[in-house]
């Protein structure tokens, strides 16, 4: 190979990019020509000089400066950053969310209604009972008002009489006797003022009655002794037959009990009548059963003043 062409391929020989045939020819020319050998040696030295001494360690701040420049130019941003709203919009949205959250937490809440327990399994007799005809009886189907009363012990020293018997007044310092029946609802005054002696009468053994059976229980504290007769007259005017005629009532401990079956309108009239006779207490509210047409059992306790 000519020295000129071989010299033109020295650089390629250094880079090892020659074909195998060309490489053999160039290496042969270098061995045969001292001039080419010197030229190749110098070129190799120069290339080694560049490769070994040309590199320069970059300063530590270089990369940070480049990143700072890219950040200032807006290049170093996340791809979704351009979709973000402006900072002011974010602040307003955050304030709105915080306000709504605060209002929600501070809003008064209604207490949760307790879940009523599952009804107990009804007895077989009730389960097999015929269905109630709602057309004939608009009153809510309830069990017949079975009134289970505890028999009061008659006072050993008294006989049945309409005359009020004196009650032994307990010592004022003694604590009131607790009611024997824990399910008994305390009476609520509905009309008239409660006489002072009513508290004393409460201390008497009151017959226990079954509550929750739908019976309207009223307690009258008459101011006149003929309250039972007045009630009898009122019942006669209304065409109502008292289940327990007043004349057969026992007035032991100045207490008489009347049982009636009234409609809602008659109950209102009865209340007006009783109001004239004295203060009245409602022992058990029967609001759910009050109706103009439906019949409601009513029980009146007439408590005479001792």
């Amino acid at each position: 190979m000519d020295d000129f062409f071989a010299a033109m391929r020295l650089s390629a020989l250094l880079d090892n990019t020659l074909d195998a045939d060309e490489k053999v020819l160039v290496e042969q020319a270098i061995r045969e020509s001292p001039r080419l050998r010197v030229q190749y040696s110098r070129m190799m030295t120069a290339v080694e000089l560049v490769r070994s001494q040309g590199n320069a360690d970059p300063p530590e701040i270089l990369e940070q400066k480049i990143l700072d420049r890219l950040r200032s130019d807006g290049t170093l941003k996340a791809p979704w950053s351009k979709h973000l709203p402006k900072r002011q919009t974010l602040l307003i949205a955050g304030a709105v969310v915080a306000g709504v959250s605060l209002a929600w937490w501070s809003w008064p809440r209604t207490p949760q209604t307790a879940v009523s327990p599952l009804p107990e399994e009804e007895p077989l007799e009730q389960a097999l009972a015929p269905p109630v005809n709602l057309k004939e009886s608009p009153v809510l189907p309830t069990a017949p008002p079975e009134v289970v009363r505890m028999k009061r012990k008659p006072a050993p020293t008294k006989k049945p009489s309409f005359k009020p018997a004196p009650i032994t007044k307990p010592a004022p310092t003694s604590a009131p006797t607790p009611v024997s029946n824990p399910t008994r609802t305390p009476p609520k005054p509905i009309r008239g003022s409660v006489p002072q002696w009513e508290d004393e009468a409460e201390e008497l053994p009151i017959p226990a009655v079954e509550m929750g059976s739908g019976i309207t229980r009223l307690r009258l504290f008459p101011t006149e002794t003929d309250a039972l007769y007045e009630l009898d007259n009122w019942a006669s005017q209304q065409g109502i037959t008292l289940d327990t005629p007043p004349r057969t009532l026992s007035t032991e401990d100045n207490l008489a009990r009347l049982e009636l079956t009234l409609t809602g309108g008659q109950i209102v009239d009865l209340l007006n009548t009783l109001e004239r006779l004295g203060p009245l207490h409602q022992v058990e509210p029967p609001d759910a059963h009050l109706s103009e047409t439906a019949s409601v059992p009513v029980e009146i306790e007439v408590q005479y003043q001792p």
Partner: protein, 158 residues
């Protein structure tokens, strides 16, 4: 990665900067013999290459094309030739020899032997045919070898 960086992905951008910054700085420093100017050219080149909206060439090619264009337009400061033998070093020798070369020879030498680019990449960077790049590299190496032989004593190059 380049495509991801084009979509302004943070991590990809950092990786590209980390991969190319040191070699680009070496090219600039060996050309300019000045650290501050080399940093400035580097930063400008990266900012420009990342700002391109519709790149038509690979990232490396575009980056070195920008750097080469900038360096060719920059006046090369005169290299102080130290006559005292104790002050001579191979780095100074290389700087002196490089300064004596023509810019296009110096550039292709640095791109090939300093930056390690392939001939095909260099041809793309310089926007010349590959054969032209081959011949230009050969002439550059011959010139550098001549300068090294001229400026060095037998003890300088071991």
């Amino acid at each position: 990665m380049v495509a991801a960086s084009g979509r302004h992905l943070h991590a990809a951008t950092r990786e590209l900067v980390n991969r190319h910054s040191s070699i680009v700085y070496a090219l600039c420093f060996r050309w300019l013999n000045n650290e501050e100017q080399a940093i400035e050219v580097c930063v400008d080149a990266f900012a420009e290459v990342f700002a391109e909206k519709n790149p038509a060439a690979p990232f490396q090619v575009r980056l070195f094309r920008i750097v080469s264009s900038t360096l060719e337009q920059t006046h090369t400061p005169a290299v102080v030739i130290r006559t005292a033998p104790k002050q001579r070093s191979l780095g100074n020798l290389l700087s002196r020899c490089m300064a004596a070369l023509e810019p296009e020879h110096r550039l292709i030498l640095l791109l090939r032997d300093l930056c390690g680019l392939g001939i095909d990449t260099i041809a793309e960077v310089l926007e010349v045919p590959e054969r032209t790049a081959y011949s230009r590299l050969s002439r550059s190496r011959t010139e550098l070898a001549r300068e090294v032989a001229r400026h060095s004593s037998p003890m300088d190059v071991v």
